[in-house]
Symmetry: C2
Subunit: 114 residues, 2 copies
């Protein structure tokens, strides 16, 4: 047995960007791609291969699902599943620990600093 609670242990940057984007709201692929380049979502460039390939994997692993609705026949909207939400949350918490360590080591400016 042993259904893994988080089959994706450390998320790849592409997976994180997509899940984080969908944590904000339901979105379609192209909108996710636009989000990904923004610093808040990781600032990465998602080529179509990575974007749709990763979406397919996330659908397969039930991290995201199609909403079924659309405002434009060309768009396919996706939303996080509860599993997906758990997974991003765990990943953000994990990254938070690493960032805290980086801050402690002086790799980045402390919060309030100028």
């Amino acid at each position: 047995m042993s259904e893994r609670l988080t089959p994706h242990a450390p998320l790849t940057p592409a997976v994180l960007a997509i899940l984080l984007s969908l944590a904000e709201d339901e979105k379609h692929g192209y909108a996710i791609m636009k989000d990904a380049v923004k610093p808040e979502f990781g600032g990465i460039t998602l080529g179509p291969g990575t974007l749709y390939g990763t979406i397919d994997r996330l659908l397969r692993d039930r991290m995201i699902e199609e909403t079924g609705t659309t405002d434009n026949e060309r768009r396919r909207y996706y939303r996080l599943t509860s599993q997906g939400l758990k997974t991003v949350s765990a990943e953000i918490a994990r990254l938070n620990a690493a960032v805290a360590q980086g801050r402690a080591l002086g790799l980045i400016q402390p919060k309030g600093a100028r």
Copy 2:
């Protein structure tokens, strides 16, 4: 042309763990492996294949270098290069933005909260 300033754009979890561990102090491979499972360094399990394979790549890309010194003939010590330091710092800053976004979305508890 085009020497990339940061050949490793978003770092893989394994690379981040290794660089973050070495940002603290010079270490040998096995010590890095022990560090990696700690939450502060990402909490990931580095198998020997990933560990030494990644170390070789980081040496090749001049992110880390051997110190040459050792306190035990079996141990090979590594340290960050200035390039490696820049790279981890940039990565921590990048992740910090994502963590801030995750926090804003309520994925993790805000700092002061109990």
